[in-house]
Symmetry: C2
Subunit: 452 residues, 2 copies
């Protein structure tokens, strides 16, 4: 237990520095029994609990509120890989395992754990589960939810639910694990999970393509899915302004193609079969697409280092945006088929309101998930952009809703978007969520002020 102000303080701010709370203490249990004892004691005393993993969330879901009434329970010491079952293709890990440690344990068993995020060196499995983390390989492998077979959860009264089943099929009642996944710690503390493992890909093919518009990118996605099937493991859309920022700010970044294009697509195929002719398969689809004018140009990575250089262009967008200055970010999804119409409508609405504003759009087109961000117009300063955040959010999120989309595709709600939910979810859905909360945490002690 940490109580000294200096020791507690690092647990009270999120890593982006947007939220600063206070806590009575930080508890760092090292076993599930200790987590249970801590939660039971808090329950008995009526003290609220804020579960925290790697503290890398983007919505303030793991940061205590400013009232200082809660304790933070850090899962960082609960970090064992409990078991790997190769024949069952499963791994059992504790909530405090970093995602990177989980990936490493899978690799050591000659398997893949496919979730991959920028923060994987420090984010933890408990947080990945509680936010239903996504990333670049969801197209093929699904979100964290789809990767989970079983959970162990400390309930709000301190009892432990052992749902650590490693079964692909189990139809014996309500599937309770799905309540806790994505619940952002508001229904209990996930302490361990049984997760799926996959064959390791032994061949990859990576290409960077120029397309005239998002519609062409959607058409190309359909072509690739039709022949490559599940081999298609990433399909990332990158707007021209996003690539420009990377080329301007990231040392060593080089244009992937001879001429700039309105939109780029980063494609990756992967196959477990070491003899798979992925380059040939990709080249055949791209060759046909070039001839038809569906894509303007293409660069196929001829080596691992070339593939990494192409991926770096995609992965450095957030870093480049940070260097450029403040930006208004949106983590949205719409049906893949509606991405082009959404982009056209959003761009038009924003440019009409603020001519010259730079739209930095990129993301996981294969999942219908875009990071639709705004940077200040050339010559304008950050504060002008910052001042209109609420207005921008309203325009973007209203459009997302009108296209049947989600205002938080993969980052969750936390504190950041809690106030937005009543506008974008039906009263009935919010009521159902409230009834679930009431059923499992009637006293509201689990992570108050988040999500609900």
């Amino acid at each position: 237990m940490l109580t000294a102000a200096a020791a507690v303080e690092p647990y009270c701010s999120d890593w982006r520095g947007r939220y600063h709370g206070r806590a009575r203490a930080v508890l760092r249990p090292g076993t599930v029994a200790e987590v249970a004892a801590v939660v039971a004691a808090c329950s008995a005393a009526g003290v609220a609990v804020v579960p925290q993993g790697g503290n890398t969330g983007l919505c303030g879901g793991a940061t205590p509120l400013a009232d200082g009434a809660a304790v933070v329970v850090s899962l960082a010491r609960l970090n064992r890989v409990r078991a790997v079952d190769g024949d069952n293709d499963t791994i059992e890990v504790e909530a405090g395992c970093t995602l990177a440690a989980l990936q490493d344990a899978a690799a050591a068993a000659d398997r893949l754990f496919p979730l991959a995020l920028a923060s994987q060196g420090s984010c933890m499995v408990g947080g990945n589960l509680s936010t239903n983390a996504g990333g670049v390989h969801v197209l093929r492998y699904g979100n964290m939810r789809e990767l989970t077979l079983g959970l162990e959860v400390v309930l709000p009264d301190g009892r432990v639910w052992d749902g650590l089943r490693g079964l692909r099929k189990d139809n014996t009642g309500y599937d309770l694990k799905h309540l806790f996944i994505g619940a952002e710690g508001t229904l209990g503390i996930i302490t361990a999970a049984v997760l799926k493992l996959f064959p390791r890909p032994r061949r990859r093919a990576v290409a960077w393509l120029a397309v005239a518009d998002a519609g062409a990118a959607v058409a190309l996605l359909g072509r690739l899915r039709a022949t490559a099937g599940e081999r298609l493991c990433a399909f990332e859309l990158v707007g021209a302004s996003a690539l420009e920022l990377v080329l301007r700010h990231i040392p060593g970044a080089r244009p992937p193609l001879a001429r700039p294009a309105p939109w780029s697509v980063l494609v990756e195929l992967a196959d477990a079969d070491p003899a798979a002719a992925l380059d040939e398969q990709l080249a055949a689809v791209l060759g046909a697409a070039l001839e038809e004018g569906l894509i303007g140009d293409a660069a196929l990575a001829a080596s691992l280092s070339q593939a990494e250089a192409l991926w770096a262009l995609r992965e450095n967008i957030s870093e480049a945006q940070k260097i450029e200055g403040f930006s208004i970010k949106h983590d949205i999804s719409v049906p893949v088929s509606r991405i082009p119409a959404f982009l056209a409508a959003a761009d038009a609405a924003l440019q009409e309101r603020w001519a010259g504003v730079r739209i930095v759009a990129f993301g996981h087109l294969g999942d219908g998930n875009l990071h639709y961000n705004l940077s200040h117009a050339q010559g304008e300063d950050n504060s002008a952009l910052l001042a209109r955040s609420a207005e921008v959010n309203r325009i973007v999120h209203d459009l997302v809703a009108s296209f049947g989309g989600s205002i938080s595709a993969e980052h969750g709600i936390g504190q950041l978007k809690r106030g937005e939910l009543p506008r974008y979810k039906s009263a009935l859905e919010l009521e159902l969520m409230g009834r679930i909360k009431q059923a499992l945490d009637p006293r509201g002690l689990m992570n108050p002020g988040k999500l609900l």
Copy 2:
């Protein structure tokens, strides 16, 4: 509304003829608004509701109780395919669509809906969702739960929850759809769903293999997964006695290999790429396995008709068992890695107790899911076997539990296994299920006497 006894009667028995109930009436609404009106009227009158789709369930979940207090709400007229979105790879269908009609609608859009069951001509989407149906392709595509993106549900008070989102990523609160999937109609009536579509496989390779024991089958599964990855779309284990029954009772069935083997495996690879060299890939893995003695013999289907003949051997096991006479059936799962030990322990326990009893084991080894059935010993009659059902179930299910398994892998609980749950689920898990039920259906009007 049907009220005449002769009209109501067909809705009051399950298709296996194990359950015979009574109902005040059968309602057959044709729109969601009509479903909502029916449920609201029942709620106002305090009348229980039994939702029913194709009435093909195996556990009596759609059959009203004998007390005759409930009405049956048939979803059969709510059977439209509402929309197909090719670019989003989704389809929106109503609960009364048969699975075959759904598959056909997907095929008409040049897509695959992968769920496949013996009853697909008559089972309906609402039932597939409410029982989280499985089948032979779960290994690659997942259960019905994994195939579902959004739901529309009439709640116990008659209000309609519109959760029909076609999004791969949406992290905006508790994922309510997972409560209703697999809930067997005890929390509301699913009226429509948005489901995932997949690229159509354009190449297949099918083989029948002889293995000495289940351990060899598990090892082979690992080899195939490691190179074929997601192309491996079926891996079915068939015990010698199951194959014998098919060869004895099914006209036209022929031995797939020159000599009988203790166990057989039916393998299928499939690929969206019409140029995929699946036969060669499968032959390479099987050739290496033959050389090592992991498999004893193998027959690769050289034509579509040969592939169908091999599949018919697998698919006719239940029919052959029915012809042979009464059998005690178990739909169980354990972790794939524990299948060999489970089989050894269960066979030993049963043979020790009843020497000569025939164990007819087969199923989806790739999912850890076996149909572990017993037929009477040669010379014994059905009634002797029938009389010991409870004792057999206890031995098998206790062993399943000791191996971390499930007593209902894909068929659900319904009336059949409701009495078993308190023995095999923790009191805490049952309490949590009860709290969810209480939160959503506090008056207990939805499908009483099932599951909970």
